[in-house]
């Protein structure tokens, strides 16, 4: 009795929906950043699951790790994104002490 691929994809899609809802619903900039991280992580799960399936179906080399390589790059992007995102939040906070994205209108004309 093994877990089918669809279960992993369903968990991934569910987490992606949760993250997207959080980005749209919450107004706290730090929470929005967290939800973006959740969405990136959900995509990682889908990439690894499909990569495992492609290796099993014999579509090419079973040692082919393309999905995992993409996941490594997503890790890099996520780390860079959270560092720069928090720096932007802190810079905006110094300018105007709030993290509510409705109140940060410094670049609006």
């Amino acid at each position: 009795m093994t877990v089918p691929l669809g279960a992993f994809i369903a968990v991934s899609a569910g987490l992606f929906f949760i993250g997207a809802a959080g980005v749209l619903v919450r107004r706290n900039a730090v929470v929005i950043l967290m939800c973006v991280e959740l969405m990136l992580n959900a995509s990682n799960l889908a990439l690894v699951a499909f990569s495992r399936r492609a290796g099993q179906l014999g579509a090419g080399n079973p040692l082919d790790q393309r999905g995992s390589v993409f996941v490594v790059f997503v890790f890099v992007i996520a780390a860079a994104e959270v560092a720069v995102g928090l720096a932007i939040i802190l810079a905006a906070y110094r300018n105007r002490p709030t993290v509510n994205v409705d109140e940060i209108r410094g670049m609006k004309g």
């Binding site: 093994t2 877990v3 919450r26 107004r27 790790q65 995992s68 780390a79 993290v99």
Partner: protein
Amino acid sequence: MFDILEPLLFFVFAIGIIGAGACVVLLRRITAQALLMALTFASMAGMFLLLGAETIALFQVLIYVGAITILILFGVMFTKQDDRGYGLFFQRQTPWAAAITLVIGVPVAFLAFSFKDPITPSAKGGDLIPLAGSLFTDYAFPFEVASVLLLAALVGAIVLVKQDER
């Protein structure tokens, strides 16, 4: 006995991912949200282990549970948190939002559960050696570009946060 162990672990990790992820969106205590996000990432590492991607699980624990959670917690502590909760949550757009979610979510759910291939863990040796071989031969150039990107992000973050000394 091990036949039942794998689905059991899957359910534990799935509940950890979906439950903690939902709490990240729904709760209003920012520190608890950050720690629940760490729980989501840790459960995701367990999922990667179930899929037989041990190296990715290790990276997940190191980068997400370690580094990104700590960065987010620093961001929480350096700012004053007065979250007024849900900006657009209880407005009249709720029926529209529910309808659009159904239109997108039902096909996605059908599509997801249409994949019925069983996932069996990889036979031997783990995925470190094929992953490293792929990363440092076929994808060596994107790897170097990623290192330049990380350097640029590091310098950019320092420049953004640095106080003006004038």
